[in-house]
């Protein structure tokens, strides 16, 4: 036991633990926004969207376009979140209607290549439009503050991220489980042929869901924009972590995306404390272990 405390000194430090839990929650909520879209799209269309990180990245760049380098006021900041969300919804709908819908019945490798094409195009498109230099945007002064919680000091923005993530999560849950539209989405996920036979416009559901997934990624990108440097490589780490989340939670499972995201958030937060050198392997070890022991993920259904 003493050896454990010696190896991991933070175990006896509640301040550090609380701070890491909060950091992990904020990270987890952002991951949830990206992964839930990825999972919804997969559940419905069986397409694994390798371009999901690219959509996230475009959201961050759109945020930069709205805010610029000067410190924004709160209204500009909120406008930026909406701009990224709506902008990516439009991008997602356009991509689905122009390209993706042509290959729903193609072999999986083709679908993978099409979404990978999106990765290649987006990486260069942001360089072409915004230039190769890394960007950063400031927070509004009113948010750029700290708060006290459980006697520990946090950045206010971290608490806000958790709150916004939770609000979006609730809104999505309400949409999927408490509205007629949500019933249709879940029905299409279960059996699209039957739903089509019943006279529902299934194509439109596919389009809207891809748009919603893209919008969530865009929102996450905008939310992340003030705390990272925005560059053409921003999409890669986000995509791999979102893959980890959906694999752990269960491909296509909405509650799974939440559980997976929260787990990976905490694993990241405490991984970096425990093995600072090798913390980036932690999520992938988790992913491999879950896939080996329980391929359908923690919350997924048996196929």
């Amino acid at each position: 036991m003493d050896a454990l405390f010696a190896a991991l000194p933070w175990l006896t430090n509640p301040t550090v633990i609380i701070r890491q839990v909060m950091a992990g929650l904020a990270n987890g909520m952002l991951l949830f926004l990206v992964a839930s879209g990825l999972s919804l799209i997969f559940g419905l269309s069986r397409v694994i969207n390798f371009g999901h990180g690219a959509l996230f990245m475009i959201g961050a760049y759109l945020a930069y376009s709205v805010v610029g380098t000067n410190s924004p006021d709160l209204v500009t900041f909120i406008a930026m979140l909406f701009a990224a969300t709506i902008g990516l919804f439009v991008v997602g709908v356009a991509f689905e209607m122009a390209i993706l819908r042509r290959i729903y019945n193609s072999p999986q490798a083709f679908q993978l290549l099409v979404t990978f094409g999106l990765v290649l195009i987006a990486g260069d498109a942001v360089r072409l439009i915004w230039g190769p230099a890394e960007k950063s945007i400031p927070l509004p002064p009113i948010i750029d503050d700290v708060i006290q919680l459980f006697g520990v000091t946090f950045p206010l923005y971290r608490a806000l991220l958790i709150a916004i993530g939770a609000a979006v999560c609730l809104a999505l849950w309400w949409l999927l489980y408490r509205t007629h539209w949500g019933v249709l989405v879940r029905a299409a996920t279960a059996d699209r042929e039957m739903l089509r036979a019943l006279g529902v416009n299934v194509r439109r559901i596919y389009t809207v869901i891809f748009g919603v997934g893209a919008a969530l990624a865009g929102l996450a990108g905008a939310l992340m924009a003030p705390i990272v440097s925005i560059g053409p490589g921003l999409h890669a780490d986000v995509l791999t972590e979102a893959f980890v989340v959906v694999a752990i939670g269960g491909l296509g499972s909405f509650p799974g995306a939440l559980v997976g995201a929260l787990l990976v958030g905490q694993a990241n937060a405490f991984g970096i404390l425990s093995f600072p050198q090798m913390s980036i392997v932690v999520p992938f070890v988790l992913m491999a272990v879950v896939l080996i022991l329980r391929p359908r993920g923690l919350m997924g259904h048996i196929e």
Binding site: L113, V114, F116, G117, V119, I121, M278, F284, L291
Partner: protein
Amino acid sequence: MIRTVAGAVLLVAVLACAPLPLSDFWIFVLVQMMDYALYAVAFNLLLGYGGMLAFGFATFFGLGAYTLGILQVRLGFDVVPAVLAAPLVASLFAAVIGYFCVRLSGIYFGMLTFAFQMLAYAVFIKSYDLAGGDDGLHGLVVPGIVGTPRGIYYVSLAIVALCLWVLARIGSSPFGLALRAQRSNVNKSLAIGINVKLEKWLAFVIASFFAGVSGALSGLATQSVFPDWLDWRASAVPIVMAILGGTQRFIGPVIGACVYVVLQTVITGMTEYWSMIMGVLIIGIVVLMPNGIVGFFRLRHE
């Protein structure tokens, strides 16, 4: 059969004379074509024959290259044992993770190979002492006449030709037929006594062995090992090549690899935004030529 053999002999003869009029740059392009052709054919043993779409196949290309690089640059091995060790390490790793991967099918198989690739990538990119971290390894030495571009070319030609011949034999062997049988119908294959998991595991190990060869040859050609070779995006390259050429014929991925390398060379020469153009081309080809280039022309011909 005679035509195929004659064609292959002719191709090797042409390739043997090809460097004479070419500059070092184009010799390097040809070497890359041959390396990638081997890489794509090895990958297609999984995708086209086995119906197994690995999202993380670059693991084995990268492991081959890193094995060569670490043995040479860090441990001072001679080039020959280092090159020989590369496919062995790649296929040994594949034998271990393949045990777990082939138990899954479809998307789950793909995702697990992805997880192992990211693990390998994370370990190498964080190991500065061993693997050079995000710089990779540089300064691989190939002594004597073999170390010249033409030397590397002929070594690559000999090794790739031999490996492709072996892969062609494997593809048309009873093992290759059983692999294709389980792709079209798992239950029927089980019923006639094919050990599906074993066949898939063998295919996984064999494909990884040749991916390791191709990674080591790429390390020789560039005298470097780049961590990008292990990145998840690198795993799209063999998929692009196999689909470009078509997965249902042995020659398909070879053609796909040549087209890919030519496109990459030509477009990189024209613009720094080559990956955007590549993205547009990939999407266009997948949407417009669902049978690959070989299939596209065959269908038009018929």
